[in-house]
Symmetry: C2
Subunit: 473 residues, 2 copies
């Protein structure tokens, strides 16, 4: 019997026929990332149903020195869940582990397994009058395990933080199959290193997240969604500070987009309408929310906030959504920017951050530099101004061949953007992670001291390098 056969038989005996398969029809769809950028191979796909099954599988893999590539909803942006082309690894699907174990109303927390889909979690919390305050475009497929492993962001980070801020406890299987667990969270615990923090955002390279206890917040009782036209990105930042001062903790979203992005959406999304009459260099989408206890007068105080901003020339025009339908329509514009930009033609995209206060000047400088260096391109930035995080796209000159352009000029442009971000003290991955997409760029531009530390930690926790090899470090 070959080593592969021995491994497979042992895994089959342990996981059962639903737990492991080599059937190409079943495995193939998960070997390419959803944007079609990375394609890999795998010797099998394992789908354990429990932490105990996964622990046994990892021990078996350690014994046979078989690499493991964990995968949740396969909706990542950096190829972090796609195996390499060697076919050595098993693809580990966490999707069968999708139980919501407990929702604690009084303690406002939920304990659920790694394979729970974000939207399912939203619905389960809503049923109890609570809310899980993190959302993003891929909510219909992204899983809790993937969100934790990539420390996912989204449009509510301004108020509630990234995934890291919402993880109260977690459970993970380590490289040797041992189970680390802090699922019953303590609010205060100073017994040494915070290992939970080390696992969050480690992209499955230090351990495989199997379950988590997550923070919930009261459901929204009232929300006010505002669309504002602003004269400059500097004014947008001043408007943000004004809104933070006035609305405080109620300010939950503050997204920006340039006129060009709005027009791209209007061109490509038939249902989209411009919220304001005129043209404006920049637009801000602002969401202010309140739970039951704070819902009174929210709309009136937003109106006062906008009037004051208008008086201080922080905005040129603004409208408050008249109802839920219009609120959703405003958000549809925001959520359609990426697909609309994609339809405009080939582009390279960057998920970057710089220190929050430098972002307006960075955007101006970066757009100018990129368009000057690469004649015919158009550079745009949109997204989470309040987090110092924008998505920075450089669109190819008209008529460029997508694949050829992306492979040649596109790659050079990305390097130049990353150089610029590094010069401004920023990050080449604000919220999407490193995966395989940015691993070489991280090695090229990352702080050598931090990289050295990361490699030391990786070697200590996964000396054989079996956990998600080729990713991150």
């Amino acid at each position: 019997m070959t080593g592969q056969q021995t491994f497979f038989d042992a895994a089959l005996a342990s996981l059962g026929p639903r737990g492991i398969t080599c059937d190409a029809d079943l495995v193939e769809p998960w070997l390419t990332d959803w944007r079609g950028r990375f394609q890999g191979r795998a010797r099998a796909m394992a789908s354990p149903a429990s932490t105990a099954e996964l622990s046994a599988l990892v021990r078996l893999c350690a014994e046979h020195r078989i690499p493991i590539v964990p995968q949740g909803g396969n909706s990542g942006m950096a190829g972090g869940a796609t195996p390499d082309r060697s076919g050595e690894a098993i693809l580990l699907s966490l999707r069968r582990m999708n139980g919501i174990r407990e929702i604690d109303l009084e303690g406002r927390k939920v304990t659920c397994e790694a394979g729970v889909i974000l939207q399912t979690l939203h619905e389960a919390a809503a049923e109890k009058g609570l809310r899980f305050p993190l959302t993003l475009g891929g909510k219909g497929s992204a899983t809790v395990g993937g969100l934790i492993s990539t420390n996912a962001g989204g449009t509510q980070v301004l108020r509630h933080g990234s995934m890291r801020a919402l993880v109260l406890g977690l459970e993970a299987v380590l490289a040797d199959g041992q189970v680390f667990s802090t699922l019953v969270p303590l609010k205060k615990d100073n017994r040494g290193f915070d290992l939970k923090q080390l696992l969050i955002g480690s992209e499955g390279t230090l351990g495989i997240v199997t379950a988590a206890t997550l923070k919930l917040v009261p459901a929204i009782a009232e929300r006010v969604v505002i669309w504002a036209g602003v004269p400059s990105i500097q004014a947008a930042r001043a408007l943000l500070l004004h809104c933070e001062d006035v609305a405080g903790e109620s300010l939950e979203g503050f997204e920006v987009l340039p006129q060009a992005s709005l027009e791209a959406v209007l061109d490509h999304v038939p249902a989209a309408r411009a919220p304001l009459a005129g043209l404006h260099p920049w637009h801000a989408l602002i969401e202010v929310v309140a739970d039951e206890a704070n819902a009174d007068h929210l709309r009136e105080s937003c109106e006062a906030m906008l009037e004051e901003a208008f008086g201080s020339e922080l905005l040129d025009d603004a409208v408050i959504a008249a109802n839920e339908a219009q609120s959703e329509a405003f958000w549809l514009i925001r959520d359609s920017i990426s697909p609309a930009e994609r339809e405009r033609g080939p582009a390279v995209q960057h998920d970057i951050s710089v220190p929050v206060e430098r972002m307006p000047d960075f955007i101006d400088a970066a757009v100018r530099e990129m368009e000057a260096s690469w004649p015919g391109t158009e550079a745009i930035a949109f997204g989470h101004l309040g987090d110092g995080n924008v998505h920075f796209h450089v669109i190819a000159p008209g008529g460029a061949d997508r694949d050829a352009w992306q492979e040649s000029d596109g790659k050079r442009i990305s390097r130049q953007v990353h150089d610029l971000v590094t010069k401004w003290g920023g990050s080449i991955s604000a919220e999407h992670g490193i995966g395989q997409l940015k691993r070489d760029e991280l090695a090229r531009l990352g702080d050598p001291v931090a990289l050295h530390l990361m490699r030391q930690v990786k070697r200590a926790l996964d000396p054989e390098g079996l956990l998600n090899p080729g990713k991150l470090v």
Copy 2:
């Protein structure tokens, strides 16, 4: 020349005469922890003036294999900053590195060096109309570096979190002398493992914190301090949940103490007066605050909150402090519990947490069990109910000899308390850290998987074991 002489001469050349000394008069006072529980020896005391000087010193120590024991204000509770008795180590004082480098008003953050004293930081923030929202008894001596290294807590954790939640960026010197820095913080950064989190709370065993960028919040414009008498610790928790529901983010402190602790304070602090007329099984000290933007009607809404609580029988009696002086008087009672308890006689003290929702039942069960197991003792719990963290003291029977009792029964009692806390899923160190005080207990009771992980990380980052040896792991 001896090795010691070579090392000392090289250090002297690098740090200058103010930077290193063997003068017993200067070194001696820092070789005992402030509570007098631990006494150590050191070959010298180094006091570098900058990160660069410290980096050079650590390289020199690595070369000569000399252990380093970092120390801030020497106000820790677990002997974490006291060297062992071998005299091998140098004592590293961070107190000369006490510059506040920058206060960023708009970004509400401060960058300061490790040796800045907490009270100095409070004053510097207040001067700018801002506030650093962490405070504790030792604020006159505790330093920023020590607070970060121990992930300090205090009485505002309920609203603002422990030190970890307030550290936006940090700088540290690693075991090989390299400098790790994230002093210019990014709100979003997903470039791999969050190494900053690993250093926070690691008690100087993985790196020496030299500077940090910390979060500030708006100054308090209005505060309401309430003293409530409650019928049981379960009622106190129900009252806490009620206050959280009504006051939301404005609720900043919620401390509890039993009648016996109040009486101890009244007996031992001449200035203290009972806030309420009658006796109550438990007392709650509640602080609700608001900044300028939210100061209106704070008092009225607190009155309504209390009336409702009274109607629901969550409290028996309550009083709102009439002015700042009375507010301070209420807090003086809380802050005097530990010294007052000390004056009552020998006791063993435990800084413990259990899952927040289990704390009331834990207190009842633990008091019962300890007093039954150790006739003549009195067990009391007081502190941060909202964080699931209380200080649990067991007071010796009358007439016991302090030293003898603490060494015999006291040690056995502590082990029993720690066993009980572990059984309830809690932590034997909620906020004081492990240091040398609880290292053996952590090894005895800690999760073996977590301990194994910690040792792996420690070995990876400090293979020679020179950073704060004998502490934590």
